[in-house]
Assembly symmetry: C2
Amino acid sequence: MKEAPVFRVGLDDCDKAHLGSLGFVLRRYPSHAVIARQGDEQDRIFVIRSGWGCIFTELMDGERQILDFPLKGEFVASRAFDGEAPESFIAQTELMVFEAPAKALLAGLARSPNLAAVLLGAIARQRAILVQHLTNLGRRSALMRTAHLLLELGTRLEKANSARQLGFECPLTQYDLADALGLTAIHVNRMLRELRERGYLEFRHGSVHFVNREGLERFAGFDPGYLRLPGES
Amino acid sequence: MKEAPVFRVGLDDCDKAHLGSLGFVLRRYPSHAVIARQGDEQDRIFVIRSGWGCIFTELMDGERQILDFPLKGEFVASRAFDGEAPESFIAQTELMVFEAPAKALLAGLARSPNLAAVLLGAIARQRAILVQHLTNLGRRSALMRTAHLLLELGTRLEKANSARQLGFECPLTQYDLADALGLTAIHVNRMLRELRERGYLEFRHGSVHFVNREGLERFAGFDPGYLRLPGES
């Protein structure tokens, strides 16, 4: 199945034709399928069409550190341009992704500076997300970082028109959150209870409900500027 | 002063001419100068010629999380392609950097797929470094992450021909290391003492000496594959 990914940005018809010519193929992965494994040769790039992805590093002792959960419309490129994947990429839920060979993309860049700006903007946004996750782990308390991540995921889904201001469907377990937040699942459980008791949010039955979003954003020091999409004003 | 940065990769003469035409300007910053501040409009890209840089996020409570110390030959792009800087960039030591407008670079990409591959490779490498720092904070013990960072910095300097296998000149204080490792300076001090007592390394008078590098790499789970330069086999 061939189809081009849609970026929410100002591409003209000529750029869209270039994008369509890059050889993106739409593929479906069942939940928990491994799409790329850390250390394997990796020469594809991906754009999520629907579902939740998960990228993580695996440590020698079998632990994992989740780096991010790529969502609808987002780009997964990691080290596609020269060799082995520095991280694993799996389907957190059933996942539809556009895939293209990294080399085709390089050729595409050469044909359209607009497309190059969009691509580099998308890569920079994914990097800015990693930077916030790093800041979460290093300098935000367990409670603040739990709040910050949930606010971020909600905001990203809103920008992809997949969530409302009030909350979002969240397929993550407390184990997943723990591996993303550098905590144990028990600790995450306690943090979610405390966020509920403080009247900030409720997370149950696979759904996050922001009870007091404004207060939560203030508490977590959450400034959504880094989630601006390429071309978004 | 105009001069083009040298990437250690397979660019042909034509690519080098393209690189030279992108408008890189060599600038000198004194130690601790602010080159780009978080939240400011940011439309430049940088390649370090000599010295140590430092990129970090500033939190509302005045704390900072150091993301990385960009070194000789390395690329600093963060969010140069669409607006405000998500992080601050300062000179850790006196710093010589090549600067170019991000827009000129986009035009350059369009002229040479080779150059585009080198640029994307350099961005991907800086991202792989962030990923390891994130993994340090989330899933490596204080002792392991201290060892991992020092091994990484030594390896990066070696690849830039600025260090030997035995060790490297290191201008970082224990406060800098603390802000990079998510620890306090007192904790870093204890970790450095423990690494010395275990016979792994000595860090004093601004110099890191690897006493037992092989053992240290094993202990820290350090695999230097992610530091491969674009085009390096």
